[in-house]
Subunit: 461 residues, 3 copies
Amino acid sequence: MAKHSTNMRIKLPVCCLALEAVTILLFAIFVRYDSDTDASAWHDKLKTSNSSNADNEFYFRYASFQDVHTMIFIGFGFLMTFLKRYGFSSVAFNFLIAAFGLQWSTLIQGFFHGFHDGKIHIGIESMINADFCTGAVLISFGAVLGKTSPVQLIVMTLFEVTLFGINEYIILNVLNAKDAGGSMTIHTFGAYFGLTVSRILYRPDLDKSRQREGSVYHSDLFAMIGTIYLWMFWPSFNSAITAHGDDQHRTVLNTYYSLAACTLGTFALSALFNGEGKLDMVHIQNAALAGGVAVGTAAEMMLTPYGAMIAGILAGMISVLGYKLLSPVLDSKWKIQDTCGVHNLHGMPGVLGALVGVIVAAAATADIYGDGMEDVFPLLADGTRTANSQAVYQLLALLVALSFAIVGGIIVGFILRIPFLGSPPDSECFDDVVYWEVPGEEEHHQMMAVNTDDHEQQTQA
Amino acid sequence: MAKHSTNMRIKLPVCCLALEAVTILLFAIFVRYDSDTDASAWHDKLKTSNSSNADNEFYFRYASFQDVHTMIFIGFGFLMTFLKRYGFSSVAFNFLIAAFGLQWSTLIQGFFHGFHDGKIHIGIESMINADFCTGAVLISFGAVLGKTSPVQLIVMTLFEVTLFGINEYIILNVLNAKDAGGSMTIHTFGAYFGLTVSRILYRPDLDKSRQREGSVYHSDLFAMIGTIYLWMFWPSFNSAITAHGDDQHRTVLNTYYSLAACTLGTFALSALFNGEGKLDMVHIQNAALAGGVAVGTAAEMMLTPYGAMIAGILAGMISVLGYKLLSPVLDSKWKIQDTCGVHNLHGMPGVLGALVGVIVAAAATADIYGDGMEDVFPLLADGTRTANSQAVYQLLALLVALSFAIVGGIIVGFILRIPFLGSPPDSECFDDVVYWEVPGEEEHHQMMAVNTDDHEQQTQA
Amino acid sequence: MAKHSTNMRIKLPVCCLALEAVTILLFAIFVRYDSDTDASAWHDKLKTSNSSNADNEFYFRYASFQDVHTMIFIGFGFLMTFLKRYGFSSVAFNFLIAAFGLQWSTLIQGFFHGFHDGKIHIGIESMINADFCTGAVLISFGAVLGKTSPVQLIVMTLFEVTLFGINEYIILNVLNAKDAGGSMTIHTFGAYFGLTVSRILYRPDLDKSRQREGSVYHSDLFAMIGTIYLWMFWPSFNSAITAHGDDQHRTVLNTYYSLAACTLGTFALSALFNGEGKLDMVHIQNAALAGGVAVGTAAEMMLTPYGAMIAGILAGMISVLGYKLLSPVLDSKWKIQDTCGVHNLHGMPGVLGALVGVIVAAAATADIYGDGMEDVFPLLADGTRTANSQAVYQLLALLVALSFAIVGGIIVGFILRIPFLGSPPDSECFDDVVYWEVPGEEEHHQMMAVNTDDHEQQTQA
């Protein structure tokens, strides 16, 4: 692949501006304020339904939305800055694809969910869902990090968002499975989609760039900003679109304890599996988050706090084991080059989260949920389903997510192999210099001066 | 200018303590809790007006306030850490002038807005407005960054906050223009004020410090923390003081889509205008935010989502063009040394935002707004004004903001030229060492040891 | 102490997994959802008490909780990254002990506060209290930072959380003192506990590690992330568990102005007391926060805004003086090695905060508080106590906190001296390498290559 093909002068502007133009056009045709956002409609609602401004959906969800927003842009963005020479691309391509993804997913999810009278109606809930959808894309980004051009990433976003919308529709609206925090729709789908794409884009000569596929001291600290934000706000992520009242409250609480237990499990196994009895930052940065993924389906259910903690500690331990034992095998045997280890953070914990959902759904009884059943399992509340049949549908949903991820990943992977898209050569992966004007390091120049002096003093002496 | 004049031992303590003493005294005389904050008054209100604690203004605005607070202290503070040797000053002088500015603006805005019975009554809304006012000062700080002493900055804050209060009063209360997100009162005013001050403080020999007027790899990552927080929380900024219900909700939504579109436009033009087809961090850090400025006036109006996106993408593109084409001319021809490029991020997008406000105000109809007209355009709702006359007042407001900025900037610029204020010499701009105890870099010392060994091995060999 | 004892391979996993297993078991036996979190109970409440989902405690406190959470994990975690080679340990051990501490304190505080029908009932308020308790442990961590193993820290957490629960119970429920922001229960207790532990763990040969007990340029910027987040969100901290309505609102407002005034005082004294007339980052990072501590008891009371500002500026000035004058004496004369200077940030300001509480409680009158008295001073509202007697109880509470801190610190300090716990030798303090796989610095290797070339060119010339 010729080096000049990574020049972004024409292809990136054309790609961004064309897609943005189409998006704006589709918004102009289809997208309208919903009844909580429109001046006239909301004031009609105030009059006719005896409600007050405090009932506006905004106040139930905006704080959670901003936490989710922070996870998407700071959390994912900085988590990926761990690479020593790929910090610009990590945080800024994350920014670019999330900014495009949230617009595109407003349209895609809108056609499937908020479409009536020929229009898509949007408000705080659709904004949260749009951010959620970009989360799946960013997970996939983690698998291909350092090996893809921004044009490839935008094309991937375009297709992945579309597939996400269809997959989500089938899981939530056809199968009527529950998945508020997206163990299946976001984490399982995003991870296996990204891993499949990475497999299709396999680079046999990636060793030429391996010296940059690691961290330096301060890049690990930047990455911890991402980790801690993801960890702290995961309760908001899982609860952002659950029902008002006890549901949001309980989802937050379960996620909080799951993550806390996960953190202990992560530190324990990180120390245990390093020969030298030292901790590894990669585990802390990633595995400690698996507890959020592991309760993404079940946190809104009556999981119990200790149930959440068991799910969390299992997820943390599985995730560390994955980094230690599975990632090298995926790379060498399966030809899956997973830069961030999304299989360990989102893939396996996502599947675990789906299975926890199966078990907790099967255990649902009218006694436990009372009148709250309607919010969590409406089809159990109205007698359409038994707990066991709900559990079967939950399991089916996992299979649907995996299928969409793998089949979709194969198709999109081949699309991304089009040479025109500006992929970096094998010897220039994980390097900001390919796509960025990169400033020098000040220390560098200072140092040369210092050392020259140093040398001269010695030779004189 | 003699070097010893930058010594802060006496002048900074005197300045800080004297102003703080005056501020506390004025607070003691004039400032009181408002009826939602005072123990006795709120409980009286609970009894007499059939309200509940949930109706306290606090719950409608506190989450937004904290987002605004984060933009002011983290957003502005870290955005300016892009300079390689000015990180301490960027984040800490930002901290100092915002901490003083919010107290002083409580008094100034209080005299104009919350003054009754001889007292200023404060609560969450006045706190948001105080933070807003400091935003304007921090924008001006961006123009003079690296070229001013902390004492100069505090003096600038003292005067700029005062002028801000008068300007805002004329725009919002005399002209009855709308400007919830401050395209005019905050961005246009803050930017042109700062640019004018920078012109008055023109340094012909700034080339002596140009080698420090750039970034290093990790300083650009610190700056991205600022960028991303500003970008994420801008919806909270624009909506923080809009009316309850649909207004806050709609303002958030419009700003969200404006910024997303702006980001695509920014990446597109950054790649297009760099000769090498590479992206430039300066554009991503700054121009991607212009979409928030561009809907600062109109986001609370029925702008429509696609209208917001058009405003956003225009702002992003104008801003990149400004960095590429206009900033060098401002510097060389107009003698305006604009360290952070606030003309591109706040100046031109602020004017654009005002003009978008003019257009959307002119398009207001009773059909579109329904009973929500009263919240957005009260003078249209009660028939005092037509949409077109409101548009004219919006335009007048822009002219007022520009006039206050330029005239005020000239006056304050000359005040800041008083030598006593401790301005750094031309050869020591953009350097923390002037005002800070600066630690060395560890690598530096390690390196010397390593290189000495290295050298010895070579000479022995 | 033999070097191999710092190997964490067995002792850390055993410690983490055993404690987590016990915690999960105790949760399974004792911990249940409260009536706002449980599906069945909340829906019963909705029916029987004519409330709506908006009345769920979640909506009054969740935004505050997430701010507190951010202070605990980002604020404390990054504040301590100022050390040049201890960033991994600072942010990650902070993460570990907070994750364990919040679980353990759920149990301990639950037995004292939420225990009825043989069960601990949890929800958003208990989550906030759990985070609060970890705050005290993290303050103590600041005193022993760099000198303790993760196993020691977990053992310290186990005991300190337990003592915290008892101390808090006596102060709040036996003495019926008020301390919403924890000037006494969190700051005074945490600081003096940590200082006592540090005294017991005194290292006479710590000079062997002193070269690492300082910052480098970028570690000071990471620390400022912690500082700014603590500063911004302190209003949420102090108000997180105060009563709904005016109480939360007023607490936020008082804390906001206290911190703003404190910042001016800090900058003033930092410049004044440095011989060279330059500012010191250590003061800005720490003393500027003392204003939050100083109103931790009184911010919910009718302190008045100017009262808050006086408390704040005093705290800032005392804190800078402490760093300048007292810390060296504590170290050399009292053998208290206080890595982060918690005595200056939490100790003295905590005591000041308690005394401010005494004064403001003594000044309480029915006229000032009206019907709001019941929320702030219930025993004054029902006539059980006079304002003066409340003030006496406030003072007693301070003495209780100090006593628990010192006696507890002595006991726990001796426990931590058990050699098995893996404390680092005196020559390896403040160094991540002891407990972490640490990557190199890229510049390092680049530099060696550059310098070798450099050398060769010179020898050839």
